[in-house]
C-alpha cells in the first residue's frame, strides 16, 4: 500500500515541479516584455510612457534577477497568489480564475459523469448482440472522431441560428444579473444546454466504445466460460462482466481528463462560455502572460488532483489491488 501510493505521489510531485517551472519559464523567453504591451494598449503620450514604463517594471517585479523571480513565483504560489493580470490590471489572477471556475464545474462535471454512465450502458448493450454492435459501434466511433468545436458549431448553427431554439453564446441573458430567481436559473439552463450537449455527445462515443471492448474481453475470460458451463443465466454472467469492465473505465476516466479539458476549451470558445478555457483564449489574445500562466497552472494542478483522487477511488473499488499490495508487503 505504502509503495503504491509512494510511487504515485512521487510521480505527481515531479510532474508538479516540472509543470510549474515550464509554466514560469516560458514567458521569460519570449520576445519583448509584458509592460510594452500594456503601454501599447494604453495609447499614452510618448513622454508619459517613459515614466510609466519604469513604474510598471517595478510593479510587476521584473526588475530583479531571474533566479529571484523564480523563487518569488514559488513563494507566491504557496500563498495561493498567482500574480496580477495584465489585461485586467489590477485584478489578481486568482480572483479572475475563481469567477470562471463555477462555469467549468457546471459544464464539465455533468458532461463527464453523464456521458460516462450513458456510454457505459450503451457500450454494454452493444456487446450483447452482433446486430446491436453493428449499429451502435460505428455510431460511437464516428462520435468519438468528431472534433468538439465542429460539433459545437453545428449545434450553434442548427439550434441557434437556423431554428432560433436556443441561445448559443454566453452563460446567461445580457439583460440579467445573477440572482436566486427562477428566471435567472432558467436563462442559465438555456445557455448551458448546447455546450453541455457538445461535450456529452463526443465523450459518450468514447466511453461506449471502451465499455464494449472491455465487456467483450471479459466475456472471453475463463470465469465467464466457467459460469456459463455451470448453467448460470446470461444476465448474471453479463452483470459480472459489466462490473469487472467498470474498473478499467475508471482509470480510463483519469487518463482522459487531459483530453477532456482540451475539448472543453474548444467548446467554450465556440459558445463564448465564460469558463477557464475561454479565459485562456482571451489571455492569449490579449497577451496577458500572467493570466495565461496562472490559468494553465490551475488546470494542471486540478488535473493532477483529480488523477490522485481517482487513484484513491480505484484502490477502494478494486479489491485486487488491495490484495496485490498485501502480497507486496
Amino acid at each position: 500500500m505504502r509503495r503504491y501510493f509512494g510511487r504515485k505521489l512521487l510521480i505527481y510531485a515531479i510532474t508538479f515541479i516540472l509543470a510549474v517551472t515550464v509554466d514560469w519559464a516560458i514567458p521569460r523567453f519570449m520576445p519583448g516584455n509584458p509592460v510594452e504591451i500594456l503601454i501599447a494598449r494604453a495609447g499614452l503620450k510618448a513622454e508619459s510612457a517613459k515614466l510609466i514604463y519604469s513604474y510598471y517594471m517595478k510593479a510587476f517585479g521584473l526588475n530583479v534577477p531571474i533566479w529571484r523571480q523564480y523563487l518569488n513565483f514559488w513563494i507566491a504560489l504557496f500563498h495561493g497568489d498567482l500574480g496580477v493580470s495584465l489585461w485586467l490590471f489590477p485584478q489578481p489572477v486568482m480572483k479572475i480564475i475563481k469567477q470562471a471556475v463555477p462555469y467549468d464545474i457546471l459544464l464539465l462535471v455533468p458532461a463527464i459523469l453523464l456521458s460516462w454512465l450513458a456510454g457505459n450502458k450503451f457500450g454494454a448493450y452493444a456487446a450483447r448482440s452482433k446486430w446491436l454492435d453493428n449499429t451502435i459501434s460505428p455510431l460511437a466511433y464516428i462520435l468519438q472522431a468528431t472534433p468538439y468545436m465542429w460539433l459545437g458549431m453545428l449545434l450553434a448553427w442548427l439550434c441557434g441560428v437556423r431554428l432560433h431554439l436556443l441561445p448559443f453564446s454566453g452563460a446567461y441573458s445580457n439583460a440579467m444579473m445573477p440572482s436566486f430567481s427562477w428566471s435567472f436559473v432558467w436563462s442559465l439552463l438555456q445557455h448551458w444546454i448546447l455546450p453541455f450537449a457538445s461535450l456529452f455527445i463526443v465523450q459518450f462515443g468514447g466511453w461506449a466504445i471502451g465499455m464494449r471492448n472491455m465487456i467483450i474481453y471479459e466475456l472471453e475470460a475463463d470465469y465467464s466460460h466457467y459460469l456459463e458451463a455451470l448453467g448460470a443465466p446470461r444476465k448474471l454472467v453479463r452483470s459480472y462482466a459489466f462490473h469487472n469492465a467498470l474498473l478499467p473505465q475508471i482509470t480510463g476516466l483519469a487518463l482522459q481528463l487531459g483530453a477532456i479539458v482540451g475539448g472543453a476549451l474548444a467548446t467554450e470558445i465556440v459558445f463564448s462560455y465564460p469558463g477557464i478555457g475561454f479565459l485562456i483564449l482571451q489571455a492569449i489574445q490579449n497577451h496577458d502572460y500572467f493570466l495565461l500562466q496562472g490559468s494553465c497552472l490551475f488546470i494542471i494542478i486540478g488535473v493532477l488532483l483529480a488523477n490522485f483522487l481517482i487513484d484513491l477511488a480505484y484502490v477502494l473499488v478494486d479489491p485486487r489491488t488491495r490484495v496485490g499490495m498485501q502480497g507486496e508487503e
Partner: protein, 285 residues
Amino acid sequence: MAQPRKQNEALYFMRRNAKLQIGVAIVFLFIILALVGPLITKYQPRDYVAPGAQPPSSEFWFGTTSFGEDVFTQFVYGLRSTFLVGMVGGGLGTLIGILIGFTAGYRGGIADEVLNMLTNIVLVVPSLVVLLIVAAYLEVRGLVFESVYIALFSWPWAARAIRAQTFSLRSRDFVDLGRLSGMKPLKIIFTEIAPNMMSYLLLTFILQFGGAILTAATLDFIGLGPTEGMSLGLMMNNATTYSAIMLHMWWWFIPPGLAIMAIVGSLYITNVGLDEVFNPKLREM
C-alpha cells in the same frame, strides 16, 4: 515457418471484413483528394477569385469565403496539411512510443520503472494546456513544429500498448528457444518478436494518426497552429472569426469538420476491422 500461412490467413480475412474495407476506402478517397485536388484547382488557397460569401455553385464547388477565396481550394490544401500532420505527428509519436515501450517491456527492471514513471508524467499533464503555453510565445510556427509537438504528448498511449505487448511476447516459447540457441538479442527482436508485433504496431500507428489529426485541428482552431499555410482547423477558425455561422455560410465550416470526422472515424473503424482480422477471438462477435 509459421509466417506464410499466417499472412495468407490475414489477407483472407481482410478481404472479407466490411469495416476494414469501408474504412480504408474512405481514407483512401480523401488521400486521393488531397493529392489530386491541388492539381485540379487553378487557384491558391489565399487567392481572391470571386465576390465574397458565395454559396456553392458549378464554378466554386464549395462556395467562397467572406473575402472571396475558393473554399474548395482551401479544403484540398487543408487536407494535405492535415494528412501531413497525421503522418509526421502520428509517425513520430508511434516511433517514440515503440522505442520507450519496447525498451521498457524487453529490459524490465529499473529501465521499466523509470520509463514507466516518465510515461505516467507525460500522460497526466493536460497536453493542450502546455502546448498553449509554449505555442503562444513563439513568433513563427510551422507544420513540422506542430507535428513534433503533438508527437511529444501523444507517445505515452503508444508506449503503454507496446510495452504490454512486448511483455507478453517476451516470455513466449519461440523467444526462449531463440535465446537458448544463442541468437543475438537484436536478431531475436527483429526476426522473432517484431513480426508478431507488426499488426499491433500498425494498429497503434493508425490510432496515433487519427489522434494527431484531431489535436492539430483543435490547435489550429484556437489559433495556435502554423502561422503560414492552410489547414482544416484553420478554415474553421477563419469561419468562426468571420461569423460564418451567423451569416449562414454553412459551406465554409461544414466541409472541414465533416472531413475530419470522416477521416478519423474511418481510421478508427479500420482499426477495429484490423483488430478483428488479427485477433481471432474478436471475429466471433
